[in-house]
Symmetry: C2
Subunit: 161 residues, 2 copies
């Protein structure tokens, strides 16, 4: 997947055989022969076959030099066009999905970040309490009076999230 074989071919078109296709959709109806001028196809004939018109694609020869007319040709084109469409659709879909994924991940991230903030805060509170308590102990304070905190306050820390 993903390579770029196709001969780089500098924009200067080298061999170009190109074709035009479409056009057709001129006006709406077009159905019949509405199409004004447009001549039809030139028929690129395969000049072909170097010296001995090999009919059999032995070693060198490209293929059988496709006949644009051939039914088989048309069929193949049509199938390919279909495949192309499919492929592109998928590609597009994938891109969309990826974008969506980004959004989801971003949200998730915010949630996590928030949770961290919360936990950090709790932790800091607890630590402070501890330090305070330690102090009290150091100062030799009565244990009972030292009960400044009720653990209960810290027990509902089950952040649902």
């Amino acid at each position: 997947m993903s390579k770029q074989p196709q001969q780089k071919l500098t924009n200067t078109d080298q061999n170009g055989v190109s074709v035009i296709q479409s056009q057709a959709h001129c006006s709406v109806g077009n159905s019949a022969g509405t199409t004004a001028g447009l001549q039809q196809v030139p028929q690129l004939v395969p000049v072909n076959a170097g010296g001995g018109g090999k009919a059999t694609p032995s070693s060198k020869m490209k293929k059988t030099i496709l006949d644009k007319e051939s039914d088989e040709y048309r069929q193949r084109r049509e199938r390919n066009n279909l495949a192309v469409k499919k492929s592109r659709m998928r590609s597009k879909q994938k891109a969309q999905d990826t974008q969506q994924r980004v959004n989801e991940l971003k949200e998730e991230n915010e949630r996590l970040e928030a949770k961290i903030k919360l936990l950090s805060k709790e932790l800091s509170v607890l630590k402070d309490l501890f330090l305070e308590h330690a102090h009290n102990l150091a100062d030799n304070v009565q244990p009972n009076t030292a009960a400044t905190v009720t653990p209960g306050d810290l027990c509902n820390t089950n952040n649902s999230q």
Copy 2:
């Protein structure tokens, strides 16, 4: 943005006008006949323009009935081809970037998740200590002996991350 005007045109090819163009500036070799056979071609001329070859795009006429020959036409095509290439490149780049973003976000997510785990653990430890201590107090234990914990242990909790 995003619509799909282009006449759907059922795949049944209606009238296809095909042509070959290039050729002209073949010059640079394109080396010999690399391209197998392909002869060129016919040059589809726009049969066209009703009676008088109007040069001026008056009211009805399409445009000036583009002359495929016209220099201006060729120039426009070339510029457009360029634009198309550019656009596609960008599009591809964007997709790639998005994918990358996904990866980054995923990593970040894992980091956050880990941090949360850590904080949670610390918190849980602290809470346990608290509970234990509370117990001791309840049981009326001597404060001094209650010094089971040293706050110091909890002070280096600055998770670098």
